[in-house]
């Protein structure tokens, strides 16, 4: 649903100028061509251009990458608002990206893009459309530089006839008339295999994007792997792969994918907010600050740049400055969901739960499926000991991203806080199975078992955990506590000692030392 909206907003400049054709949108292309205000001239321009563009667009591809997207959007917005139909005949099928490239190239790209849209309408999938629209800026030239362009006209005419009966989505209108112009120049019929090839490519990309929107990330990754090498190694696909790895909490892989994405298209901002969060999680402060600097110099008006800068400050525990940066991102684009969520995280770090809740709610107003905000809300309620609320919000988050072992673990924690231990253990077991690399559910399981008085099984779990994370102080501290409860003072002492060696926080040092002092004191005398 929100995808549709996105696609519409992205396409809205192209809708606007072509609105005069809306009445005849279902009629065959031939009529449309006659109705063009300056039909013959523009079509002849397009004719030269589209032939030339087959050569040109290849040369032009790197140059287009250099084009600064954010500023372009503003410029093109202005252009479209005051430019008349003459411009629209050439640029209508075009997305926003190439608006300021000179006339000939625009026309060339126009045909290029326009041939793409009908093929989408044939597939008729909303998700699919939004993929190509977003992708249009960075990927289209790479995908279509294969000389498939001319063949596409054939497929287009097929689709035009098949879909002419049904009502076309608004974005296909402009494209149709535009491509009819190019059809005039190339009435040669070519084998449809090229078009099918493109369609199959787009199908894979769209399917991958759909799965990743459903947070079926492993499936999405498998689908993206089906892409030919050449198309897999493009900025957009790699950043989608990075996002999928990020959702799977595989930050190392995500970092690699994003890194390659940046090499492939260094000026693309797509997914860079996620990349900065990945680096944040990996504690790569050098890389993160470098990324932030680069993004800021690429576009200081993009929310992604400020998200990266904010993450940089957040990692240095300067939460006030981080918050300012995230607020800047919100200010630049108040529809940018992730900036709201990051604001929420910073408010929580500053103990300002009220504003935190507000930020998360803002995020959810923009995108209900942004599960990070649900999770953030649930964490706040967990802090505030509103366990019923917390449980509900974790469930909402889990409903959206059903494979996240982190959310499952926290759902278990909140259930445990509600004294529903059996359910909690069941959820935790599921979390352990969902992600074998995540040690947290095991630890939580031990915690719950301790509170249920099942010391032996808790110890078994912790022993196993010790093998996995030998440098985790809290595991030893918890073991020490269990041994203490079972009156095994030597073992308790040993584990408390180990815990202290691993440099826990000052609060924990105090707690552990206090426990050690009380070791030989019977429990009743404790305060």
């Amino acid at each position: 649903m929100d995808l549709l909206k996105e696609a519409e907003t992205a396409l809205c400049p192209s809708n606007e100028p072509s609105s005069e054709f809306s009445g005849v949108s279902h009629s065959p292309p031939a009529i449309l061509r006659n109705m063009l205000p300056n039909g013959p001239t523009s079509s002849s321009v397009c004719a030269d251009a589209s032939q030339r563009s087959t050569v040109k667009s290849i040369i032009q591809a790197p140059r287009r990458k250099l084009v600064d997207e954010g500023k372009l959007k503003m410029i093109s917005g202005r252009l479209f608002s005051d430019s008349g139909p003459r411009r629209s005949t050439r640029v209508a099928g075009e997305g926003v990206s190439t608006a300021n490239i000179n006339g000939i190239t625009v026309a060339g790209n126009g045909t290029n893009h326009s041939s793409k849209y009908p093929s989408i309408s044939k597939l008729g999938s909303a998700a699919f459309r939004s993929v190509t629209v977003r992708k249009g800026q960075s990927l289209s030239t790479e995908t279509f530089s294969e000389g498939v362009r001319s063949e596409l006209d054939d497929t287009r005419s097929n689709t035009a006839t098949t879909t002419s009966g049904s009502s076309l989505p608004p974005d296909t209108r402009s494209c149709e008339h535009d491509s009819s112009v190019s059809r005039a120049s190339m009435s040669v019929s070519k084998p449809a295999s090229g078009g099918l090839q493109v369609l199959s490519l787009l199908k894979i990309i769209g399917e991958g994007y759909r799965l990743s929107c459903l947070y079926r990330c492993q499936d999405a990754l498998d689908v993206f792997m089906q892409l030919p090498h050449k198309h897999y190694n493009t900025g957009w696909v790699l950043s989608q792969v990075g996002k999928a790895h990020f959702e799977l909490v595989d930050y190392l892989e995500a970092e690699r994918a994003f890194n390659n994405a940046r090499l492939a298209s260094p000026y693309s901002l797509e997914g860079m907010d996620i990349y900065s969060t990945v680096l944040y999680h990996l504690k790569e402060d050098m890389k993160l600050s470098y990324l932030a600097q680069e993004l800021i110099s690429t576009d200081r008006l993009a929310p992604q740049s400020w998200c990266a800068t904010g993450n940089c400050y957040s990692m240095q525990k300067d939460h006030e400055t981080a918050l300012k940066n995230f607020q800047r991102a919100v200010q630049l684009n108040s529809r940018f969901v992730y900036a709201h969520t990051l604001c929420g995280h910073e408010y929580v770090a500053l103990d300002d739960f009220e504003n935190g809740i507000r930020s998360y709610q803002n995020a959810l107003q923009i995108d209900v499926r942004h599960y990070n905000a649900w999770h953030g809300l649930a964490m706040i309620y967990l802090h505030q000991e509103k366990y019923e609320f917390s449980k509900h919000h974790f469930q909402r988050a889990l409903y959206i991203n059903a494979h996240s072992s982190i959310i499952m673990t926290y759902l278990g924690t909140s259930l445990h806080a509600l004294k529903r231990n059996e359910e909690a253990l069941a959820v935790i077991e599921k979390a352990i199975i969902a992600d074998k690399k995540n040690p947290l559910p095991m630890y939580q399981k031990a915690n719950i078992l301790v509170s249920m008085g099942e010391f032996d099984s808790a110890l078994n779990v912790l022993e196993e955990l010790k093998e996995y994370a030998p440098h985790e102080s809290s595991v030893y501290a918890l073991m020490g506590k269990i041994y203490k409860r079972r009156d095994m003072y030597d073992m308790a002492m040993l584990h408390f000692g180990l815990a202290l060696d691993l440099k826990p926080s000052a609060t924990d040092v105090a707690a552990i030392k206090a426990d050690i002092e009380k070791l030989h004191m019977p429990d009743e005398l404790e305060d």
Binding site: V249, H281, A349, I406, I407, K437, S473, S505
Partner: protein, 192 residues
Amino acid sequence: MATESSEGEEETKLMGGNPQLVVDADLREMAMNAAWSVSSCKPGNGVSSLRDDNYETYWQSDGAQPHLVNIQFQKKVKLQLVALYVDFNLDESYTPSKISIRAGDGFHNLKEIKTVELVKPTGWVYISLSGNDPRETFVNTFMLQIGVLSNHLNGRDTHVRQIKIYGPRPNPIPHQPFQFTSTEFITYSTLR
């Protein structure tokens, strides 16, 4: 407790001072939202000079000793460290020498928890509030008072350039008995 009273008697001498403020990563500044007040001040060198992150400006008292800085918190907080910036080279007889730190619920029940003597300090001096007992690592209090009992060279009024107060960072993950230390655990414990 017996340990507590003996702690009060004991006087630590602090020499030198650090040009740079270096604090453990697991501490955070607590007094941002606290109410700050001073017993007296010279116009233009008021309480705001203590918190402006500027070493050039200073608070100057204007009255009888002891000179007091009161910090009242909005809620009960755990405190561990007080850091002062003083400069003997610039302030000479205005430099504090004997400092007493008191804590309590309000003005009515302040209790001395620490006294220190500074010896010609220049830069940041750190006053730990922890006692010897591990259970007294932190001071749990609503209010902190920093009293300047005497100055170097028997000076009357005093100059303090900066004061920072640190407490432990709370555990970012609620409902955990301990904070996580290993990267594996920390990575998997947060969702951003």
